[in-house]
């Protein structure tokens, strides 16, 4: 199934919007995580963790799932690029799957920090978790930047599957 030019542009616009939005939201999350672990003000720390849960729930999770489950597969399978024909697409897919999995693994700790901040029970025992938020969001930001670079530069290299398919398809 090949998408028509109009639909392709619409899906591409949605894909770029979601992926760049995801990157921006993770950058905002990282800033809040740094404030949460470094600020001396209890109010500032509480505000940071409460905001992190809201950003995760309403921005990061939706923006991570839409490109992975909807616009990415549509763009790949609905165009001659394919999903497994070029290494850069396979690598980008793997990075997106891993980033989303790591995000989903962290939703419960984020919720815990938010509840602890709201109830004023944030303790020294949570410090390693606070640092983990900084490390995870920093790593996520780097991964998403790598994805953006791959999408723009599209480094050459065809998978063995893609190589075979280009000869199987009618010219």
């Amino acid at each position: 199934m090949i998408l028509g030019p109009g639909i392709r542009k619409l899906v591409r616009t949605a894909h770029v919007t979601c992926t760049v939005g995801w990157l921006g939201a993770v950058a905002g999350f990282l800033a809040l995580a740094v404030v949460g672990v470094s600020s001396q003000s209890a109010q500032m720390v509480s505000a940071a963790y409460l905001s992190m849960e809201v950003i995760t729930r309403y921005v990061i999770v939706p923006l991570s799932l839409v490109p992975l489950l909807l616009t990415g597969p549509l763009l790949s399978l609905g165009t001659p690029w394919g999903l497994f024909r070029h290494y850069w697409i396979v690598v980008k897919l793997l990075i997106n799957i891993l980033s989303t999995l790591i995000l989903l693994v962290h939703v419960q700790p984020i919720r815990h920090l938010s509840h602890a901040a709201a109830s004023g029970t944030l303790s020294v025992a949570d410090h390693s978790l606070q640092i983990q938020m900084v490390v995870a969001s920093g790593a996520g930001l780097l991964a998403l930047l790598a994805c953006t670079g791959l999408a723009v530069y599209k480094p050459r290299g065809m998978t063995p599957y893609g190589w075979r398919r280009q000869y199987e398809e009618p010219q």
């Binding site: 729930r57 309403y58 999770v61 939706p62 290494y87 690598v91 793997l94 989903l104 693994v105 962290h106 939703v107 419960q108 700790p109 919720r111 815990h112 920090l113 509840h115 602890a116 949570d126 390693s128 978790l129 983990q132 480094p155 050459r156 290299g157 065809m158 998978t159 063995p160 190589w163 075979r164 280009q166 000869y167």
Partner: protein
């Protein structure tokens, strides 16, 4: 004079590009780091006494967006 360019052999795909090999090495290194950190006690999840599991939290998020 001019030779007809040879058509690449479909049976022998080109070698894996260098950048892919570098990405694979970085990926394996990162996985090892995560495993080592995990074994050292920097685990995931099970923090605090939250009654919500990640799955339940996700379902709640999904319900918000439907």
């Amino acid at each position: 004079m001019s030779e007809t360019p040879k058509r690449p052999d479909p049976a022998s795909p080109p070698a894996t590009p260098l950048w892919v090999k570098i990405v694979v090495i970085i990926f394996i290194a990162l996985v090892l780091v995560v495993i080592i950190l995990h074994l050292m006690g920097f685990g995931f999840g099970n923090h605090g006494a939250s009654s919500f599991t990640s799955y339940a939290w996700l379902m709640e998020c999904a319900a918000d967006h439907i």
